[in-house]
């Protein structure tokens, strides 16, 4: 069987990060606007229209593509901001838009028939019927799979949905909840990644020094306490440490980062078209390190060489790594 050479889809929260990603070997860079139309609507992050135009020109000059994430769900009755985001991506010659909301996908398909459509992980489409519906009805050409499938399940799914391409996360932060449907952040702060583009918005986060370490608080709720020198994680409720049945533990998920570097041969054999690196909120140093590692990894597999030994421990959340649902080692 001939292997598909997967595209490396890399994050960029700023023009400088876009440049770092392209120079480190990204095939595609995904970005968002400076507003609530994307799921990383963080302070000081993201692209103005002018920066996007310049970023696309830089990427195209270097043989890379730019994908624009417009992957939050428009507020009922006021879809204009999201429509404008799609119109501008088409006008600025983005190579694709990454969308989650079915109404916005319908808008993009009708208004910009030549614009390539990718289905965001936020749409949580994980079975052939769902994916085929988006493809047949709206012409979606790629689906970003939720992080719930094993490699075997992905390998079985691919032949059933062709010619739709699959994109899977290979590195970075993990969501343990049904993607696009998690309300934990809303419960505590009134804002969610789905509607506002922010999970545990920074405005609601406080770190408080105590005698025994540092307490992290979200909207006044204490969600974790780290001892002096103990590795920390993001201040999200799903990664909080809580007391249940008299025992303090990470009830949902421990602070850890997905790392599938060692699994690249299996994912390539499973027929995946694109490998996605999470982390538009991370700095240029993260982008450069992870993209270089995965560039080297993909190139090695395609050339039949052994995987290079790349140490990414220092940039992982909580200083820990997992292969997540791809292996389901906990079963």
């Amino acid at each position: 069987m001939e292997l598909i050479r997967p595209e490396l889809v890399c994050p960029a929260g700023t023009p400088a990060a876009l440049k770092s990603a392209v120079e480190a070997g990204a095939d595609c860079v995904y970005v968002g606007y400076r507003d609530e139309t994307n799921a990383r609507n963080f302070p000081g992050l993201n692209f103005s229209r002018k920066e996007l135009e310049e970023g696309i020109a830089f990427a195209h000059d270097h043989g890379a593509k730019v994908l624009v994430a417009i992957n939050t769900f428009p507020r009922a009755g006021t879809p204009e901001l999201w429509h404008q985001a799609v119109d501008d991506a088409a006008r600025l010659k983005a190579d694709a838009v990454i969308l989650a909301d079915i109404g916005l996908i319908a808008y993009a398909a009708a208004k910009h028939p030549d614009l390539r459509l990718h289905l965001s992980v936020q749409a949580a489409a994980s079975n052939p019927e769902s994916i085929r519906f988006y493809a047949e009805r709206f012409g979606v050409q790629r689906v970003v799979l939720p992080r719930v499938l094993t490699v075997q399940e992905i390998a079985a799914l691919n032949p059933q949905i062709r010619p739709v391409e699959t994109e899977v996360f290979v590195f970075g932060g993990l969501c343990v909840m049904a993607e696009g449907r998690c309300a934990l952040s809303s419960y505590a702060t009134g804002q969610s990644p789905n509607m506002n583009g922010v999970c545990s918005p920074a405005a609601h986060v406080r770190y408080v020094d105590t005698a025994s370490g540092t307490k992290s608080q979200l909207a006044g709720f204490t969600i974790n306490q780290f001892g002096h020198g103990e590795p920390a994680g993001y201040p999200t409720l799903c990664k909080g440490r809580f007391v249940a049945n008299g025992k303090t533990s990470y009830l949902f998920e421990e602070p850890t980062s997905l790392n599938t570097l060692a699994m690249l041969p299996d994912l390539i054999k499973a027929g995946v078209t694109a490998f996605k690196i999470e982390g538009r909120q991370r700095g240029r140093a993260y982008v450069a390190a992870v993209v270089q590692a995965f560039r080297a990894g993909v190139d090695a597999v395609m050339a039949g060489r052994p995987l290079p030994d790349m140490d990414l421990d220092r940039i992982t959340e909580g200083g820990r790594q997992t292969t997540g649902a791809y292996e389901r080692a906990w079963r």
Binding site: T14, F42, A203, R206, Y207, T214, P231, R284
Partner: protein, 225 residues
């Protein structure tokens, strides 16, 4: 920083033993006002070469961020006002004077400003401490990371025809710092060697005692059986 720490002048994060720490001790007698023109010039250059930093900080114009290099006897107060930004050197600040604090060793803060290290990774590994308004800290981190700052190139750019010689001096200084760092590390190892030897002896004795306790417990259980 707590009120008591503020009053004592002690830093709430232990600085690493480094050339910067030694330099900081040497600079202690210096009045912050003497250094202020350096930071005024630095801000002018950054403002000219990286206007996007203030643009990204626009929603936070009225905030004050304290940048605390824990190995130096000074702190910096940044006011990212679009029209009149300020970077002020101070000996210390009252907790009420700033909305947020970013604290870490100077070399870590410089590496962060130049995008050579990832801010989240530094936070995860606790090499960077943030206090107060997290939103303004995240915005500043993103704005600076996105600007592509190169401190030496930025600072030497204001010297006109002297930029190239200044760059060579800066490169030589960095190399000297690298040698100094190695020497200081040797010094640190020498200073802590007796304490480490004592700790190793105590660890070994503790392991022996644990083994003895284990054996006694086992014997005791057998006696009761």
């Amino acid at each position: 920083m707590t009120e008591a720490q503020y009053r004592s002048g002690a830093k709430p994060m232990t600085p690493p033993f480094s050339p910067v720490l030694l330099l900081g001790l040497a600079l202690k007698p210096l009045r912050p006002a003497v250094l202020q023109p350096v930071f005024d010039a630095m801000l002018r250059v950054v403002r000219k070469r990286h206007p996007d930093i203030l643009e990204r900080m626009e929603p936070f114009q009225d905030k004050v961020v304290c940048v605390d290099p824990v190995d130096l006897p000074f702190v910096l107060l940044l006011e990212p006002n679009m029209a009149e930004p300020r970077l002020t050197v101070r000996r210390a600040v009252d907790p009420d004077e700033s909305h947020a604090t970013i604290r870490g060793p100077l070399e870590t803060l410089i590496a962060l400003a130049e995008g050579k290290v990832d801010g989240d990774a530094l936070f995860f590994s606790r090499q960077l401490v943030i206090e107060g308004d997290t939103e303004v800290v995240v915005a500043l981190r993103n704005a600076i990371d996105g600007a592509g700052i190169d401190l030496i190139a930025d600072l030497t750019s204001m010297l006109g025809p002297l930029a190239n010689p200044a760059r060579r001096v800066a490169d030589a200084t960095i190399e000297t710092m690298s040698h100094l760092r190695a020497n200081v590390e040797t010094l640190r190892q020498a200073l802590i060697a007796p304490a480490m030897a004592g700790a190793a002896a105590r660890d070994a004795r503790l392991a022996e005692l644990e083994a003895e306790v284990k054996a006694l417990r086992k014997a005791n259980r057998r006696g009761h059986a």
